[in-house]
């Protein structure tokens, strides 16, 4: 597809990189010549220097023939206007980044309709939503939902004291009554789909699929303390912090919000009547202890400075906070923080590029693929995709163990009617099912791609 990306800041660049890797033709537009020359050096995309609200610039970028225009400049209003112009010029789909909380759901839907936007996305809100999901199930590092939430795919880290350590997967299934499937293992940067002989080690990251009701059983079996976070301390009243606090408060969780800026704190206390808002320097350990960090269920470091977030998170872990979440925006720091032992890292850049990738794949839907849901797992090295099975799927009714699948493909969940099924070798795929497929190292666009 031909995609125009207007505004190539941090988020724009991440989106550009991931869409380019998907094989799309990208035209990048930015007002800053330095940014443009940097992009033309690193990425194989066409670059146009100019404003995204300028008709001529958009014409030069070929917006009239674009399949998708994504705008992510600093200003929400510029983004909307630019999408509006591109849409009127003939772009098929337009997506604007709109992140000011003043645009609430109602006004957004009004704007989307009247400006003919295909959709809008708010990276901070998406990130906050993901954080919220994790806090609901604190032992997981990440959670993804499929098929109207009948399935969950959770990412866990195997700890040294876990009973899973050193056990062969085939034994694991016999040992534990819960129905689950370990569908991918990341060890030292390598992602593999494990067979029955595979043995887990400490520090492996694993992706587990299970029906929703089975997750609790599995957690108990693994000996992981399973408690929804009831009290959360959030450091940094950034937009993510605000959204998260709002969601948590709505679900009845206690929230303590710390920020250094007095005005911001004032604003927060007006917007979030239920939260305890503290004005102070969160890097002072004394302050954190005084505010009862040790008794919190979870701690989220969401300030604008990655390094600060990482350091404070280590401190929180050392003080025995059960769940620590760290916001890290720079990709290179993500690797370091992960190596040093921080479990749950979040970055609004990757989250929003995932959303965009999903959207672009869904667009290709109409061009021959029928992906219903797509999640990128393990730093994008694996993907989980959900398909609805059409009647023309060539291997209907064939038991999974007899199906000739490509390397790096695993059928990790089938939902049939209201039942969620963790497939074994004898299960079959029927028309009308929804199938969750995990793909590592190969790209699939439609369900029949899984067959050799």
């Amino acid at each position: 597809m031909k995609i125009v990306i207007v505004g190539c800041g941090k988020i724009g660049k991440t989106i550009l990189a991931s869409l380019l890797a998907e094989g799309h033709d990208i035209v990048a537009v930015d007002t800053d010549p330095d940014v443009i020359s940097e992009i033309s050096n690193i990425y194989d995309s066409m670059c146009v220097c100019g404003s995204g609200t300028d008709y001529d610039t958009l014409a030069e970028a070929g917006a009239e023939k674009a399949d998708l225009v994504v705008t992510c400049t600093k200003s929400d209003e510029l983004n909307m206007l630019s999408c509006f112009i591109a849409g009127k010029m003939g772009a098929q789909h337009t997506i604007a980044r709109i992140r000011n909380p003043e645009y609430n759901a109602q006004s957004l839907s009004f704007l989307r309709q009247h400006l003919a936007l295909s959709t809008s996305f708010n990276p901070d809100l998406i990130a906050a939503q993901e954080l919220f999901n994790v806090l609901k199930l604190p032992s997981a590092d990440k959670i993804e939902y499929f098929s109207r939430r009948s399935f969950e795919m959770i990412e866990l880290r195997v700890r040294e004291d876990s009973p899973f350590c050193g056990v062969r997967l085939s034994d694991l299934r016999r040992k534990y009554p819960a129905k689950f499937l370990i569908c991918a293992v990341q060890r030292g940067g390598e992602v593999t789909i494990p067979g029955g002989d595979f043995q887990l080690q400490a520090d492996d990251h694993i992706e587990v699929t299970a029906a929703r009701s089975e997750i609790q059983k599995l957690m108990r079996a693994m000996g992981i303390l399973q408690k929804q976070a009831r009290s959360v301390m959030i450091l940094g009243a950034s937009r993510i912090g605000y959204y998260l606090a709002r969601m948590l408060l709505a679900s009845g969780t206690e929230v303590k919000l710390i920020d250094i800026d007095h005005e911001r704190c004032q604003q927060m206390s007006e917007l979030l009547p239920g939260a305890v808002v503290i004005c102070g320097d969160g890097t002072h350990q004394e302050l954190l202890l005084e505010e009862g960090m040790r008794s919190m269920d979870a701690f989220c470091a969401l300030t604008g400075i990655d390094e600060q977030n990482i350091l404070i998170s280590f401190y929180a872990s050392s003080q025995g906070v059960p769940k620590v979440i760290t916001k890290v925006n720079q990709t290179k720091l993500t690797g370091i923080a992960d190596k040093l032992g921080l479990d749950t890292l979040i970055s609004s850049r990757t989250v929003s590029s995932n959303v965009l990738t999903r959207y672009a794949r869904a667009l290709q839907n109409s061009m021959g693929s029928n992906v219903e849901t797509l999640y990128r797992l393990m730093d994008g090295k694996a993907e989980a995709l959900e398909f609805r099975v059409e009647a023309d799927f060539p291997a209907l009714g064939v038991p999974l163990k007899e199906m000739k699948l490509k390397r790096g493909i695993l059928v990790s969940g089938i939902s049939r009617g209201r039942h969620a099924l963790i497939p074994s070798g004898n299960d079959v795929i029927q028309a009308g099912d929804r199938v969750v497929v995990l793909a590592a190292g190969t790209r699939i666009d439609k369900l029949s791609d899984i067959l050799q």
Partner: protein, 480 residues
């Protein structure tokens, strides 16, 4: 510096050259000539050397940056010329290797300067190879390979940019590979059109093909001792027009193909280019009128020569050495300006010359009104400071190189006009100069040192100085 990746790419290019050498081999086979053995041997040597480099340089990463792009391009061109010279040398049709190297560099860089005293005596296969190097070198061999080979990575733009001439190299399409392939499609299309038109005018097939190659690459190798002079006026006009067309920025043709006529017409570089050509033709026609039979004759001669020199092709229909000093002066000036950026021509490029003039205008305005702020505009847009600075420093280094080459040539004992025009003609990739290296003479008389210097000058000119200069600088090769 990712040396392995550089050498691996050079290896790939040598293998591509082996494939290209098969074409003249086929020609030699058709004419049943003895040089077929030597062409085939050269192809095998290229293949072996390329395969060895490709096989034994295992890069740990395929990341390349601007400097790897520059060095890759410079080394590729050196290697291609060194291997491309082998057929001439092995077959003993050019007995000295330095001469053969000079001839090949002159071919690849689309200069067209020759050391051959008798072109017509050369076998058809080698004549074809000589002209084919023009065609390959015109658009660039790395561009060619990028267009053909799938899986070029994100960084291929560095190579494209280092090989394509001009102050700013942009893309026509989002992918480097698509850009390269559309450029080559236009190039092939125009070459075929010219061959057809030449055939229609009664030129034999072999000569049509060879001359079309020479025109397309703006090279200038022919198969006759008197270049184009003995052909009919119709054929001369066809070549005049096509030389002019190949000197135009290829982006313009893309815009025409994409039916963006308005954008194409707005290209100010094209209008400057056309203007310079028309004014020069008018001035020279008036100047040489007394020497010619009639006005039509004068216009035809001056148009051909102006088009040939301006686009840095180097064909000739007359011995312009005998022209009045004023006309020769204009030609010398045109040598420096050269063709448009993004064309197959060489020289300083029209866009650079225009920007330089505009910068001078800005400086004068600035002296008159010290507080004034003036933006330089080109192609309807303000030019950013980095590009202007790049143009100025390119001009400075261009002059330094010209002077250096000239000084080295003076060791050889020719007169000032010969040396100066030889420097201009080689450095700007034109071919024939004035006086002792004029259109009817050749470079044979220079000693081997001068020939090597001139070969390097041709490469410097074609690759726009920096790639070769960077490659020769020790700092580039240091570990840090």
């Amino acid at each position: 510096m990712n040396r392995r990746m550089v050498f691996k790419t050079v290896g790939t290019m040598l293998m591509a050259e082996a494939a290209l050498l098969l074409l003249p081999t086929a020609v030699a086979l058709i004419y049943r000539e003895g040089c077929v053995v030597y062409l085939l041997a050269s192809a095998l040597i290229a293949l072996a050397a390329g395969w060895a480099l490709w096989r034994f340089c295992k890069p740990t990463s395929d990341l390349i940056y601007a400097r790897e792009g520059f060095v890759t391009v410079a080394l590729t061109w050196l290697a291609l010329s060194a291997v491309g010279a082998l057929p001439f040398f092995l077959s003993r049709e050019i007995p000295s290797y330095v001469d053969a190297f000079f001839e090949t560099v002159s071919g690849f860089t689309t200069t067209g300067a020759s050391i051959l005293t008798d072109v017509e005596a050369m076998s058809r296969g080698l004549q074809f190879w000589r002209s084919f190097t023009h065609w390959v070198g015109g658009m660039g061999i790395l561009v060619f390979v990028i267009a053909l080979v799938p899986g070029a990575n994100d960084r291929s733009m560095h190579i494209l940019r280092a090989e394509m001439p001009g102050p700013v190299v942009g893309k026509l399409l989002p992918r480097a590979r698509d850009t390269a392939s559309i450029l080559y499609k236009i190039y092939v299309g125009m070459t075929l059109l010219e061959i057809a038109l030449l055939l229609a005018g009664g030129m034999p097939l072999f000569e049509s093909v060879v001359h079309a190659f020479g025109t397309a690459g703006t090279g200038g190798f022919g198969v006759k001792a008197d270049s184009i002079a003995s052909y009919s006026p119709y054929l001369q006009w066809v070549i005049t027009v096509f030389m002019f067309l190949f000197g135009v920025n290829f982006n313009l043709y893309y815009l025409l193909l994409a039916r963006r006529f308005k954008a194409a017409l707005q290209s100010s570089e094209f209008w400057y280019y056309l203007g310079i050509v028309l004014v020069s033709v008018a001035l020279i026609s008036a100047n040489i009128l007394p020497l010619c039979k009639n006005l039509a004759d004068a216009v035809r001669l001056s148009a051909f020569q102006v088009s040939s020199i301006m686009t840095t092709t180097g064909y000739a229909t007359t011995d312009f050495n005998l022209w009045p000093e004023f006309s020769k002066g204009i030609l010398l000036l045109l040598m420096m300006i050269g063709a448009c950026a993004g064309s197959t021509g060489g020289g300083l490029k029209v866009s650079r010359a225009v920007m330089l003039m505009k910068t001078i205008g800005r400086e004068i305005r600035h002296l008159l009104h010290p507080r004034s702020v003036n933006a330089v505009r080109f192609e309807g847009k303000p030019v950013d400071g980095a590009t202007l600075k790049g143009v100025s420093s390119y001009f400075a280094i261009y002059m330094v190189c010209t002077v250096t080459v000239y000084m080295l040539l003076t060791l050889d004992g020719f007169d000032l006009e010969t040396n100066l025009s030889a420097t201009f003609a080689c450095f700007n990739n034109i071919g024939p100069g004035l006086a002792a290296v004029g259109p009817t003479a050749n470079y044979f008389a220079y000693n081997p040192l001068s020939k090597v210097v001139l070969s390097l000058a041709m490469l410097l000119g074609r690759l726009e100085i920096f790639p070769l200069l960077l490659t020769l600088s020790p700092a580039t090769w240091m570990k840090r």
